[in-house]
């Protein structure tokens, strides 16, 4: 059996006394695209944030590319990773946020160069070349010198995707990448994500775009109340939702 790119086992996460994730297990194969759907507050963002350790987990295990996230296993004890090791793990996991979070004091080009130059110590000239390639890839080469405030939401999100790709991640996490966009800008972002999936990137995508899930996703999971209620190939589960809660949810978003 081939090792999955992402392996999530029995992950639990509490905020104070509220248990937000109640034992999530999930595999994402190399090059797979998992779409995560569910009502507001069901824990979708939290799940993604646990994968790149923006949140710590209370129990369970997460492996990305065979590496246990956040801990080192020595004998039968777990040891917390040192901050530098956590940073090393995050470098290989790209994340795209609902509200872009581009660095407002840097141009589009500088945003894309920032990771490689600061984190990996890539020479500026080389990083600039690569950043231009990536901006080209998201169709924004002509906006390289613009500051985020001068770009539309869709353009900002495409720069944000390029910024993540500049780190050559093994896995990309998308947390509702189109939810903050005006309807006419959604497609340009989805097109970039479609290309990325076609190029073989492993992706976990929280989204309400069922069309995208059906077309691009290999697996769709429906989370409600911190557990996976239903999962399967998007075409199958969207055509024949079995659980009442999933059916009710689809009734609302479709």
């Amino acid at each position: 059996m081939v090792e999955p790119k992402v392996r999530i086992r029995s992950v639990r996460k509490c905020f104070g006394s509220v248990e937000v994730l109640k034992g999530i297990s999930l595999d994402v194969p190399e090059g797979g695209v998992v779409c995560v759907v569910g009502p507001s507050g069901s824990g979708k963002s939290t799940l993604l944030r646990c994968v790149n350790r923006l949140e710590t987990i209370d129990s369970g295990r997460i492996w990305v590319d065979g590496d246990l996230i956040g801990y080192a296993e020595q004998g039968d004890r777990l040891h917390h990773l040192r901050p530098a090791q956590l940073c090393r793990q995050r470098q290989d996991i790209g994340m795209v946020f609902q509200r872009f979070h581009l660095f407002p004091h840097r141009t589009a080009l500088e945003n894309v160069m920032e990771g490689p130059v600061v984190v990996k110590g890539v020479a500026k000239g080389r990083a600039r070349e690569r950043a231009m390639e990536l901006l080209e890839r998201v169709d924004l080469a002509d906006r390289a010198g613009h500051y985020p405030a001068q770009l539309s939401g869709g353009q900002q999100q495409r720069v944000a995707i390029a910024r993540s790709l500049a780190m050559d991640p093994k896995l990309m996490l998308f947390d509702e990448p189109t939810s903050a966009l005006d309807p006419e800008l959604v497609q340009e972002v989805l097109a970039v994500m479609r290309d990325l999936a076609a190029s073989g990137m492993t992706m976990m995508v929280v989204t309400h775009e069922m069309g995208f899930a059906r077309e691009v996703g290999d697996n769709l999971i429906f989370i409600d109340g911190g557990v996976i209620v239903e999962q399967g190939h998007p075409r199958d589960v969207l055509a024949n939702p079995r659980h009442e809660r999933f059916r009710a949810f689809l009734g609302q978003v479709l």
Binding site: C87, H101, H105, G115, Y147, A160
Partner: protein
């Protein structure tokens, strides 16, 4: 039935309305103008002011020397104060209760006691610690040792007092600046794999600067004047040298005016500098402002 005006009429309907009279405003303006003229007249013709002495001492070597000390004290204590403020603010926002406590103690103590007292204290620190050394703590052997009264000149005492006091105020300003940065910025930087230091240096502080710089400019301008307090420990800055001169020639008012003229020159230059530095740190936000302004006034002259 009223006739709706045709498009041609609408294009040109000048508003040429008569304003209601405002006698109160006119009277106030006349009184203020009269008071100004009278004040200027009394100052100019006043023989006790000795304009010739003021002119003579404005470029006096000792005065210029004091001016230079004032500038040095201001710049150095602001730079050190800013560094201390950033350190204290980062400690305050850290997860460690010990660091937070140390930072809180620092700002509490130095904001809670008068600067004047602190200055006199630093100048007399030799009474408490006659010597400073590097070596094993808790009275262990010393590697190097200095005598306090050699180390603590009026200048170093002034610098210590001003910088440490300033740091306590800057801590508050820096903290507000750091807090003003969207937490999403920090997360985006962390998701790229940046270390805490890199996040702070590359992402958080540059953005916090926009909030930090205007009050820091005010602190700088206020520091130019606060340095005059150093005269209590004879700090050789502008006020001290002016005092020394008037103790010799008894031109008290003239020398105070000489000092004031220089203080006003310094604060005016600093205000202009502040304006340009604030502009510089608007990078990336300026574009948005221009856009918003243009959107709010669609028929402005388009000076983007």
């Amino acid at each position: 039935m009223t006739k709706t005006p045709q498009a041609a009429d609408v294009a040109d309907l000048p508003i040429d309305a008569v304003r209601p009279p405002r006698p109160g405003r006119w009277i106030a303006a006349v009184v203020a103008a009269f008071a100004l003229v009278w004040l200027a007249y009394t100052i100019i013709v006043n023989e006790n002011l000795h304009w010739d002495v003021i002119a003579e001492y404005l470029m006096d070597g000792r005065v210029l020397g004091g001016l230079w000390v004032t500038i040095q004290l201001t710049v150095l204590s602001m730079v050190i104060g800013l560094a201390l403020g950033i350190l204290a603010a980062v400690m305050q926002l850290s997860g460690s209760p010990v660091l937070r406590g140390a930072s809180a103690l620092y700002t509490w103590f130095f904001r809670g006691t008068p600067l004047l007292v602190q200055l006199i204290f630093w100048f007399n620190i030799g009474l408490v610690f006659p010597s400073f050394g590097i070596g094993v703590p808790f009275d262990g052997p010393k590697l190097i040792e200095w005598q306090a009264n050699e180390l603590i000149t009026p200048f170093t005492a002034a610098l210590l007092g001003l910088a440490i006091n300033e740091g306590a105020y800057m801590a508050e300003i820096v903290r507000a600046g750091i807090r003003s940065v969207d937490p999403g910025q920090r997360e985006a930087a962390e998701a790229l794999g940046m270390s805490h230091r890199q996040v702070l240096r590359r992402v958080v502080l540059p953005q916090a600067m926009r909030v930090i710089i205007p009050p820091t400019g005010n602190q700088f301008i206020s520091m130019l004047k606060t340095t005059s307090m150093v005269s209590v420990i004879a700090g050789a800055e502008l006020l001290t040298v002016s005092q020394r001169i008037y103790l010799g020639n008894f031109e008290v008012i003239a020398m105070l005016i000489v000092a004031s003229i220089w203080y006003i020159v310094l604060t005016t230059i600093a205000s202009v500098g502040q304006h340009f530095i604030e502009k510089r740190f608007e990078r990336g936000h300026h574009a948005l402002q221009v856009r918003v302004r243009r959107n709010l006034r669609p028929f402005s002259r388009g000076n983007a």
